[in-house]
């Protein structure tokens, strides 16, 4: 009887751990896809790619960009006007900005596994904490609270899952064209608009 009780607790605990961890894996994996796709899509739009530069930059049909600093784990935003250490709530990523739309479209496929709405945070600028200085890049963070299913046996309720990605534009042809911003620390004006250099968005973090 004692052996059976001990074995039962151990096996049920193992099953709980495996299934909950597996579900969290699935969510985080999809969030990484969402953050990567959002950042790569957003890198082409103003202000990461300034309209004044001309092609390949494109306008943003919405202006939800947060010029701030990504801080904390799970990450949040620290806005410039805030006093040091303060972390005001970030404004939700508005529909209409490509990075937000693409990230959310990918993340929504696992929305049923979250117990709270999925949040998408976008930050941009040349001084983001995670990235090399001067590079004009975009950081996309996707996160949600996921509930434990079997873990509730162990009094666990939820866990915040998140993924982030940063991207910037560069030249496609790196053999004969200027080095990409991620490695040179430069911005888009350092690149070549002359064929066959071409343009491509690259993940840089």
């Amino acid at each position: 009887m004692v052996f059976a009780a001990v074995a039962m607790v151990a096996i049920v605990g193992a099953v709980a751990f495996v299934i909950d961890t597996g579900i969290f894996f699935v969510i985080q994996r999809q969030f990484q896809t969402a953050a990567d796709a959002g950042a790569l899509a957003g890198a082409w739009h103003d202000p990461i790619c300034p309209l004044a530069y001309g092609p390949p930059c494109q306008p943003s049909s919405a202006t939800p960009l947060l010029v701030g600093t990504v801080v904390g784990s799970p990450p949040s935003c620290k806005m410039p006007p805030s006093p040091p250490g303060a972390q005001p709530n970030c404004a939700p990523c508005a529909a209409g900005f490509t990075a937000c739309d693409v990230a959310l479209a990918n993340a929504q496929t696992v929305s049923q596994l979250c117990i709270a709405p999925i949040q998408v945070i976008v930050a941009t600028g040349t001084s983001l904490a995670l990235i090399k200085p001067k590079v004009n890049d975009i950081v996309v963070i996707v996160k949600c609270d996921a509930g434990y299913s079997f873990g509730r046996i162990l009094n666990l309720s939820s866990r915040t899952l998140w993924s982030s990605a940063a991207a910037a534009l560069g030249n496609r042809n790196t053999a004969t064209c200027p080095t990409n911003p991620p490695t040179s620390g430069g911005d888009i004006t350092d690149l070549s608009a002359t064929p066959p250099c071409g343009w491509i968005a690259r993940l840089i973090d």
Binding site: M8, A14, V15, V18, I19, V26, T33, A37, W44
Partner: protein
């Protein structure tokens, strides 16, 4: 009161053992399916990125045919990947769809997949070199200003592994797998990635 008989413990153990075994089998199968799904997800990301940077149909098809997917069986299918017909005859299917972005002549109204009522660009408007739905099916229009895909379009790639299986015998009946129907016990696993089309390959 009668004393506890030795055979009672055997019967109780038998009942509990079935439950424990089922739980362990479920854990094993869940882990295997999760592993397969992760490879499906990776494949989706890779193909979506390739489609995003303008890789053409033949390149995507070659990429899909070389995918490494653990636990995906080709038994009962004509090949690993990628047949167009529905219902499928291959163990893995890849679908590439394009949605209207902002570029073009004349500029179209954007119709991305996350917008209600938007559908994929029909095969008749896809450049012959690119896919138009299931991988292996090229488009039909001649390259020109109205041909898709064009920069800022949206690409949606869906990979489905029809050949993923439940392998532990105790769980197969739960999924309706008997020797009569679905003898291989296939459980389709799907992953989707939506990305921005960055422009043609050169």
């Amino acid at each position: 009161m009668r004393a506890k008989q030795p055979s009672q413990a055997v019967v109780e153990f038998g009942l509990i053992a079935i439950l424990f075994t089922a739980l362990m089998f479920a854990t094993v199968d869940f882990g295997l399916l999760l592993n397969t799904w992760l490879s499906v997800s990776s494949a989706t990301r890779e193909i979506a990125r390739s489609a995003s940077v303008g890789k053409k149909d033949v390149t995507l098809l070659a990429e899909a045919s070389k995918l490494n997917m653990p636990s995906v069986s080709t038994a009962g299918f004509s090949k690993f990947c990628c047949d167009e017909p529905t219902p499928t005859t291959s163990a893995v299917e890849v679908k590439v769809e394009y949605f209207l972005g902002t570029q073009g002549s004349p500029p179209p109204i954007p119709c991305p997949p996350w917008q209600a009522g938007c559908t994929a660009v029909p095969p008749g408007s896809i450049d012959k070199s690119y896919t138009a739905g299931d991988l292996g099916t090229t488009g039909t229009c001649n390259p020109g200003p109205t041909c898709r895909p064009q920069s800022d379009d949206v690409v949606r790639v869906t990979v489905t592994a029809y050949g993923a299986q439940i392998i532990t015998p105790l769980l197969r009946p739960i999924f309706g797998c008997t020797n009569g129907s679905n003898p291989q016990c296939y459980v389709p696993l799907t992953s989707t990635a939506t990305v921005r089309y960055e422009g043609a390959e050169f």
